[in-house]
Amino acid sequence: MSVAKILETMDYGPAPEAAGPAEAWLKQHHHKFGLFIGGAWQEASAHFDSNNPATGKKLASIGEGATADVDAAVIAARAALPAWAKIGGHGRARFLYALARLVQKHARLFAVLETMDNGKPIRETRDIDIPLVVRHFYHHAGWAQLIDTEFAGHEPLGVVGQVIPWNFPLLMLAWKIAPALAAGNTVVLKPAEDTSLTALLFAEICTEAGVPKGVVNIVTGAGETGRALVEHPGVDKIAFTGSTEVGRIIRTATAGTGKKLTLELGGKSPFIVFEDADLDAAVEGAVDAIWFNQGQVCCAGSRLLVQESVSEKMHAKLRARMENLRVGDPLDKATDIGAIVSPKQRAQIADLVKKGVAEGATLFQPKAGCPDGCFYPPTLLSNVEPSASLAQVEIFGPVLVSMTFRTPAEAVQLANNTRYGLAASVWSENINVALDIAPRIKAGVVWVNCTNQFDASAGFGGYRESGFGREGGREGMYEYLKRKHTAVKPAKPEIIRAAKAEAAPALAAIDRTAKLFIGGKQARPDGGYSRQVNTPGGVLIAEVGEGNRKDIRNAVEAAAKAESWAATTGHARAQILYYCAENLSARADEFARRIRQMTGVSAATATKEVEASIRRLFTYGAWADKFDGAVHNPPLRGVVLAMHEAQGVIGIACPDEPPLLGFISLMAPAIATGNRVVVIPSQMHPLAATDFYQVLETSDVPDGVVNIVTGPRDELALVLAKHGNVDAVWAFAGDARPIEAASAADLKRTWTSGPVSWFDNTEGEGRHFLRHATQVKNIWIPYGA
């Protein structure tokens, strides 16, 4: 093209990034890769092709990890564990630092390779993905260094199986591997089948850094390889990022195995524009939200919610902006939108858009269109009603759907009208609007006047069916640690089965059949049945209501209605917990007698349990106004507020013993942090909880905050696990498997545990209960006058 001609057109022209070094690297490997197991490259028995989606050309043959390969990798990881733990935090920090440096040193090779393999523009891999990878390793080198002091009392989980997606191949690898290694775990990681190359280059970097053999194992493959890893009995934790559908399968597969699990799944994140927003800024935000990485981003702002008063203006600006987006060669430095990862994914996007148009959405795509092949143009579908499938389904492509709202309250309602809860953007120049709305959106990350911001210091992860667990920050480190087993073994229940202790009352007592406690009222069980509560010797003490699924339903309804409890101040919640303690204290003798009667323990032990229960109520009264969040300082002018938010409605299955302390120890941290609970008390000794009704009633606990349903524990716990309006289930008794399996349907949080030393103050109370009672929401607030 002549200079004179360009002076007329003023086009940008091509600006290709050289692919040479990446191609040379592939050639050096003869375009064929094995598996990285135990620090060495192992031949794979089968291979599959990895293609460049922009050209359709094959890049390399990738080894397909078989079950035996996964096995070998897990064995290698297990073998590496003791030495990796032994070198300590500082030793691991040095390796993580070396990895950060080496990735930085080979940054452009990683970037080009990633772009060739995935199809995303070189601008993104070069300016966003790889720098974030480097930052993640640096940051976690720091956590490794500080592990003994900042995570005292914790130890690594062991061997971690990690399965990552194709949309940010190396970045997701970093998010998985860095915290795992910092905490002292060893890993077996399976990259997505479409995008294995940067993980394989990373394996080389590990060798270059001298990471001990077996600490990092990379087993490439497809779904079957992932399944073998997830189901492997030698794995202590699974960390998965990917689709909600596969997340459910993994939750089901790991149910009852004791494997720790974190899932980072799909989303349909709202992008909310208020009338007082800087609309030009919001338009550019939308570009970063949905046309970043071709919209193949789990937290993509894919649902545009615009206030009616500025809707037309916003849409006009957006359409004009879309005309300037350049779709094409991902290796061109001036490409905004690259290739869709695979033809299959592209077809899926096209189908969903077609469906949306058929359902009545208005389609807009820029005039320029896009190249042939695995490309899809930026797309805006307006007039999409919340009931349309496009408003609910994750498209995972460069497709923005839009709808309008009238008021801030309606914006929140629409934003939360989804099964997902990964992220949200809020655009308003009014600090009151922005900071009021952000906490009300059910999402793990909220960006105020910005979008798709990530940093190693701020946790990332979802609410609801977007998964659980966080990656990044302190909260992310906890996902790779467990509490060290304290020396104290759970006290063996002291049961005096002496006939004397269970002598029947001298007088015929007035019948006191405890009802259920639902919505602040004592309610008769729906089924009209009662169950007997006996002394250890089998003498009837009293009867309690036999709760059934309908009682659970009613209790959950009452709990859900008591939502304002979450907004009650910590100070007020503290007062109520202290009040409970005070009222329990006033009736300490009566409760001790009851415990003795039911369990047969000595008077001293029973008194000790009541005393411990009072203390525990005090503990959580103390915590109620102190479990503060944090302010992170990522590299931007602004702050990230890490807020602790209540899970919502928590279903709790209490252990049989100790009947009062077990109940208090679980109920109190939950309500201290703003949750409402539906408690199934000790099945064997429920009277400690039913006697507590009067304490609740006299202590100003608002209706519906604590609901108690007595009856068959496992059956009722399962109903809770299956209830769509229950946000978390804590099962401290019974079989974990059915609970965890049932939770897969809506991916509710579960906390299952074996016996706990409830009388021990380090194990029976404290921050770990509060952490389970809350989830962290990170609110990004860049500022600037």
Partner: protein, 335 residues
């Protein structure tokens, strides 16, 4: 959009540098249109920080874009020690901004590439006009008590009239920044309107002194007030403020120009000035123009770069493009 009905341009005032755009007649003062403006600084900074990573031009394209930049330069000297000799030299450079052999090598020897204008103080206008006689290069005069803009209003208006009489085809006025900081947009509007009237057929560039305005929102408001009062161009800086042209200022001002175009159908020009000395800087401003405003705003009738040393750096880049060798300043005739 109900509130932004385009107004069909009717009156066309002829002007030498007008290549087909109707001059902005302005609108009646509208306080709401100014008060309602708000700019998110972090978002604006993010946009301009990522833009150089999103757009780039290489090889022939880079050469062409840089040549276009040359055509948009208001080659400027605004020093206390300016003399007719100095201005003569500048005007000669404006006519032949790039070495002929380089232009020939690029195949644009026949395009008569010159800078967009020569920009001087009033007392050098006559000298410059004479030096540029027979060319189409307009002389721009900074005016109205440049750079502070604080002399009595009648004097400022008089100064414009003097410069126009002396042959300036473009007048770069400065607004009273204190009026913006005090929220007196109406006063800014009134003064600007008076300046525009005094300019007559000469095009008026309104220097808002962005670096003095404190916030990007004020930059937006000052831009809007000036366009409302009939500015043909809005310009970032005098070059004498502590902070002069920046990409965030450019972004905000371009977005105001876009808003004005949407509101009225009139195209306003943009001129960043002060501190632009690298070819790469010029390209970044061009990217802002093309991305935020579109192709027409890359031409000198809607885009000027107020600069002096920038030209030498561009020449060096062009020589590198032609020869493949990195160049040095002394290889290019000075202006």
């Amino acid at each position: 959009m109900s509130n932004v009905q385009p107004i069909t341009p009717r009156v066309r005032e002829a002007a030498p540098s007008d290549r087909g755009h109707a001059r902005n007649p302005g609108l009646a003062f509208d306080a709401d249109a100014i008060d309602s403006l708000k700019i998110n600084r972090s978002a604006a900074e993010r946009r301009v920080a990522t833009l150089p990573g999103r757009r780039t031009v290489k090889k022939e394209w880079q050469a062409a874009w840089l040549l276009k930049a040359v055509q948009c330069i208001d080659l400027t000297t605004l020093s206390g020690d300016d003399t007719p000799g100095r201005v003569h030299r500048l005007c000669a450079k404006a006519q032949r901004p790039v070495r002929e052999d380089l232009l020939e090598a690029m195949g644009v020897g026949n395009l008569e590439i010159t800078t967009g204008a020569v920009c001087v103080y009033h007392n050098m206008v006559e000298t410059a006009v004479k030096a540029l006689e027979g060319t189409h290069i307009p002389v721009a005069a900074v005016s109205t008590g440049f750079p502070a803009g604080l002399s009595p209003l009648p004097l400022r208006i008089k100064e414009i009239e003097y410069s126009v009489a002396a042959g300036a085809k473009e007048i770069d006025i400065v607004i009273d920044r204190g009026l913006i900081l005090g929220g007196h947009y109406r006063a800014v509007y009134d003064e600007m309107k008076a300046f525009r009237e005094a300019c007559g057929p000469a095009h008026v560039k309104a220097i808002i002194g962005a670096g003095d305005l404190g916030t990007l929102t004020n930059v937006a408001k000052a831009s809007m007030a000036c366009m409302m009062a009939g500015a043909d161009f809005i310009k970032t800086s005098t070059g004498k403020e502590p902070v002069n042209a920046t990409l965030p200022f450019a972004l905000v001002m371009c977005r105001m120009i876009r808003a004005w175009h949407e509101m009225t159908g009139y195209r306003i020009g943009f001129k960043p000035a002060g501190g632009i000395s690298q070819a790469k800087d010029a390209l970044n401003y061009q990217f802002v123009m093309k991305e935020e405003l579109g192709r027409p705003w890359l031409e000198p009738d809607l885009f000027r770069l107020g600069a002096s040393s920038l030209l030498t750096d561009i020449e060096r880049q062009l020589e590198h493009f032609v020869s493949g060798r990195y160049s040095a300043a002394h290889r290019h005739p000075m202006g």
